[in-house]
Symmetry: C2
Subunit: 316 residues, 2 copies
């Protein structure tokens, strides 16, 4: 952690370098420090986030696709990002920014948000700008998962978002997937977990990602919560995707293999009761997952890009 004086120095050096565009030599001379020292302070300022780079992506939207999507699935709102020339990596960052702008519009003091896990959710949360609204609290909607990228887990996202919005983080201290439905029941009945789930149910806004059950990349399989065979079975039985760890079919029915009962978190019915459920998803490979997710009736606002939405609309 930085002391006040360290923080102040880092900020000053960063201002001189990035805002005033002085050279490191000039800054060193002005402050009576060596040039290398300035280099190191700048490096530290970047690492500590004292200086942040904000990129204004062009966030044009596709009004016709948005309307078509709203009508096709009875959505309250659709946000469809116009494609950019940039590669997928940036498409997600841009989508996150678009989602964040929308989310920010909804924020007001003393609000309660609930978040799940995943890359898309991560991007939205990272694009949210702190500031205006006050004491926006965040509840973890689902248990934790030891992911390949730990910063994508729901607990990490809850912490990040609550920190940005100056609110309290409520953690759901449980694994995302219990060994059996009965075990999950036991977990859910614990005082602390029950309390947090109750808070999550009362949230004003839920932020969810949509996963497709790709056997290659599934974190459920990778983490040993499901065998490849079990996943294949679920897919044969019609499972096409998941939201908040809850698997559903192309028709938007909850999967009945028993997996969903092993998940500690809001189920689809509870999620549907949340005032505003905002889902974020990107990629044509998620077409069926997105269609199924939309048909569950859980989603109020979908945030996606033109290619994905086109695929979704054409698949019916």
């Amino acid at each position: 952690m930085l002391t006040y004086e360290e923080h102040d120095l880092l900020a000053q050096v960063a201002a001189m370098y990035y805002e005033q565009e002085l050279t490191q030599n000039a800054i060193a001379a002005a402050l009576g420090l060596s040039r290398v020292k300035i280099y190191r302070l700048l490096k530290q300022a970047r690492e500590e986030g004292v200086i942040r780079f904000t990129i204004a992506w062009p966030l044009q939207r596709e009004a016709e696709l948005e309307q078509a999507l709203r009508r096709a699935f009875g959505l309250r709102e659709a946000l469809v990002l116009r494609p950019g020339g940039s590669d997928v990596r940036y498409a997600l960052a841009r989508l996150g920014q678009l989602g964040a702008r929308y989310l920010e519009q909804m924020l007001h003091d003393e609000m309660m948000l609930t978040v799940c896990l995943g890359r898309s959710t991560y991007e939205v949360i990272h694009a949210v700008q702190p500031g205006f609204a006050d004491r926006v609290n965040v509840v973890q909607a689902v248990g934790s998962l030891a992911l390949t990228s730990p910063e994508l887990d729901s607990a990490a996202l809850t912490r990040t978002l609550a920190g940005k919005l100056g609110g309290v983080a409520h953690y759901l201290v449980a694994p995302l997937v219990a060994d059996s439905g009965a075990d999950a029941e036991v977990l859910r009945s614990q005082r602390d977990i029950r309390r947090v789930l109750e808070l999550a149910r009362q949230a004003d806004v839920a932020l969810v990602g949509i996963g497709n059950l790709d056997p290659e990349t599934s974190e459920f399989v990778r983490g040993g919560y499901l065998t490849a065979d079990e996943l294949a079975g679920i897919r044969r039985a019609g499972g096409v995707g998941d939201m908040a760890g809850q698997i559903f079919t192309l028709n938007g029915q909850a999967d009945n293999s028993g997996f969903n009962r092993r998940v500690v978190g809001l189920n689809l019915t509870e999620l549907a009761d949340v005032d505003t459920v905002m889902a974020v998803a990107l990629g044509q490979e998620k077409r069926d997952a997105v269609v199924g997710a939309l048909r569950t009736g859980v989603i109020d606002v979908l945030c996606s890009d033109a290619a994905t939405v086109q695929a979704v609309l054409e698949s019916r």
Copy 2:
């Protein structure tokens, strides 16, 4: 103006350079462009504001001084910045950031702000982050002045702030100081000016700076609106500072030399009627001006730094 594709490219290059920390050569290779081209795109991205540098100054506040100040002058809120080691230039930037954070908290959709002129106001406005609230409109509270730095004029500030907040800018198309009180009356009676002043009176928040009547730097003298002798006379008669072009004494009484009547803009009484008047001032040389300003009873929220506030509290 940038096209969508240009903007997208600038954003992508900026992301690769500043976020991913790739070299210009690596970016050039990845995008099939020359290195100089990347250099120029980066330059353009900075100029166009596609990439912005945000510095997180340490914004600790002095709670005791704040409380003392609130009590001494019956303020609704006081924001007192803890001093940093950096020079005055950055002190103002930091103060601006502190003021901006407070201002942002107050924003809500369809709000109406009104702004005056000056360096402090400029810094606050430049630190405001766009985003959350929508259609926040901005009215110019006082006429324009040909300042040494044109970007500090009330019209420029009105434009900048309205642009950031996605609202409409209402310009007061008049000089700040008319040649006589009668002339000012004529200006104020013009349809367009009357309309804008009426809007300004109804603003939810007014942002004002506090000027001291320093004969060396006074923009009134420099611009020829007052002779050095007239200013000296006003000072002998007790004038210690101005807000929104309105001069007041150490006791907080409006100056009665006739200058105030020549100003086209909200007067002190009208300003006092605005719901929240936020004043920003920095520098011990402004001590008497700040004391007088506080005693006018116009100010609801004062934003300043520890050294200035200490001087103010000790001067009584």
